[in-house]
Symmetry: C2
Subunit: 453 residues, 2 copies
Amino acid sequence: MKVVKFGGTSLASGKQIQKVLSIVISDPKRKIVVVSAPGKRFADDTKVTDLLIACARKKLRGEDATDWLEAVVERFASIAMDLEMSNDIVKEIRADLEERLRGYKGDPERFLDHMKAAGEDNNAKLIAAYFQERGIEARYVSPKEAGLIVTDEPGNARVLPESYKRLYSLREQSGIIIFPGFFGFSKNGDVVTFSRGGSDITGSILANGVKAELYENFTDVDAVYAVNPTFVSHPTEIQELTYREMRELSYAGFSVFHDEALIPAFRAGIPVNIKNTNNPSAPGTKIVNERETKNGPVVGIASDEGFCSIYIQKYLMNKEIGFGRKLLQILEDFGLSYEHIPSGIDDVTVILRENQLNQELEQAILHQIKEKLDADEVKIQHRLALIMLVGEGMRRNIGTTARAASALAKAGVNIEMVNQGSSEVSMMFAVKEEVERRAVQALYEEFFVSVPV
Amino acid sequence: MKVVKFGGTSLASGKQIQKVLSIVISDPKRKIVVVSAPGKRFADDTKVTDLLIACARKKLRGEDATDWLEAVVERFASIAMDLEMSNDIVKEIRADLEERLRGYKGDPERFLDHMKAAGEDNNAKLIAAYFQERGIEARYVSPKEAGLIVTDEPGNARVLPESYKRLYSLREQSGIIIFPGFFGFSKNGDVVTFSRGGSDITGSILANGVKAELYENFTDVDAVYAVNPTFVSHPTEIQELTYREMRELSYAGFSVFHDEALIPAFRAGIPVNIKNTNNPSAPGTKIVNERETKNGPVVGIASDEGFCSIYIQKYLMNKEIGFGRKLLQILEDFGLSYEHIPSGIDDVTVILRENQLNQELEQAILHQIKEKLDADEVKIQHRLALIMLVGEGMRRNIGTTARAASALAKAGVNIEMVNQGSSEVSMMFAVKEEVERRAVQALYEEFFVSVPV
């Protein structure tokens, strides 16, 4: 049995939903279909979920939200028309939306969650109806009926462990199950949504619950690329990567989806296949527990900018037990999270995301560090980029560091920082933002183009 | 004016003290001479300070310590005889030692300090007398007379800031001052010693106090070597290095002396010249505030073994604010100091000196980390060596990392860890202990032998 999830662009129009239908029926193992709300049809389009949020906010302000409600109905109506479906489904959706809009507003977050969930919920109903009209045995199953119980944290729900056992009984149902993504129900029976992109989470939970042999995640790209395609044109597609590699690659903001969504599938050891709705015959990228490392030490390169480093120097720092802990306490008191803290004998550097700071906060932090830790010198460097080289077994491959550092040197890139050896599957370089592109290109050239290893 | 300090081996015999005299009088700027206690004359010899400690401990146990006292007197008598001095000085030393031995024993640490200081103190008196007998204007000055006031921490005294002003008046004295190293006086007038090797500290304090143009530190090697001579025969001698470089080199236990002793001279910007008593015409190694970097990026390579790494893995670790701080708190609670903490997205590694642990403690720490931090995996790797590449401006030299990593790869050395970017003047590699020698040799070959840069 396979769990198949389709993202917003795969369901944005009738034409796309026709593709979805043929994909699902082309493999009898595709029994559980998790759907998102209709996404963008073109670059400037608005996602149905965003229309619903605008609608809910307007209503919460006490204003008339009919315009937004009509916009949502219009999107579904257009899909139904494309699919030559009867108007009944549109009426049903309108009625559902109007009822939600009349709902209790005393708890705004809960009201918002209720409205947001309408995109996936109604899309699932529409798609189930469409499958039925095409003579396919299919039915809509709600998370409530299936027993997908979550914590009562609106907008940030987490699945409760007892759900898995209940979801297992979905295996016994005949026909295809169309399941709305993005939300579950609290123990009290309230709709609670996952964090944004939460349909991936639903698919992953269901794959775990029914112990699927595969979780297929259909999106709008053929595969996960080995490098950001805005830096390198037509980069290598990754055929297979491990969960750990996926996670490291997503570290620097380079991800086709929510990597944390994978946790439930990961825990159950279920492989994930990222595929393209618009090119379903492409093999896509498979995310697995273990893989053979036959294509050299590096599987992918990720990078992101917007980091800064705070350098702290104090003579005899390394003799001072508790110095590092006190430094981290200061960061924690300011609510800051950090990426790395490379340290030397008399100095330590903290790398963190720049967007956590503004000028005032920055001054306050530098001042506190200087005062509380009695530091000799504290200085900040802005506009750094972090580059991650990721690959299983990289650590055991003598010479990977040398190849990477030499490639950067040849490209005239100065390495501000190297962090290697914590993770067994990655190596981090910090460079100035202005050379990020050049650095990534040089590393790609070294590990994916020049010499096959 | 120069402050000149002679170490124990430079003063171990009459013959050595004759060399000291010629060195001092060969430069009229050498006005202040700081002396250690007589050290070893040959490999199996015992230092006078160690004889004094044995003597004091025996006395404190309530036993007769005459044998040890005689051994100390004997060392001084042998020096006096070598120098053809009258027996008066030996009588004076014996009387001093007997008086110290009769001293108050209610505070054993203070008694011990009093005894330990006798080596330097009597040696200074002997040397002053010898200089006088040779017709040189010289006199013994005690730390009390000079105003070298320290904190009342027996065996670990720190200079009090007011001392510097008092010491400045030593400039006004005519002739050569012979000053005992290793101890000062508390505000109450008690003898208090510095930590072991403390004559270097005395010299450094005096250099600061009198605002010397140079602090000459005479020892028994021609220079600081660029690499451990047990790994590479006849290594390059370092002509000049900065305080920062010296400090980084001494990090991994590779040091001709107490690098912390330099702090007072360092604060006053006074250069230090490490020279050889047995080869005073050799230029030695100069430690300065700034230097021209004309000989390539690397000035020296230090290494030490006996490290271990604790690897901690936890899914979503980087989302958990406070994780790092809690980890460091656990280490602090166990009284452990760490060297480095490289971190990844879901993992962090702590590098620390292995000699802080035993099997029981190790199990307790691993257990606490697993429990308190709810880690998915905790494991320890033993027998690591750290190698430091040190050099000013290394960071701005594109390609240093590449050269180092390539040299290690060519030597078949797997890099377990790289830490670069905290300090601007060093780069750290961790390797398995069994390849330390090979790794150091490869790096030395790359930066000091093969290609001049």
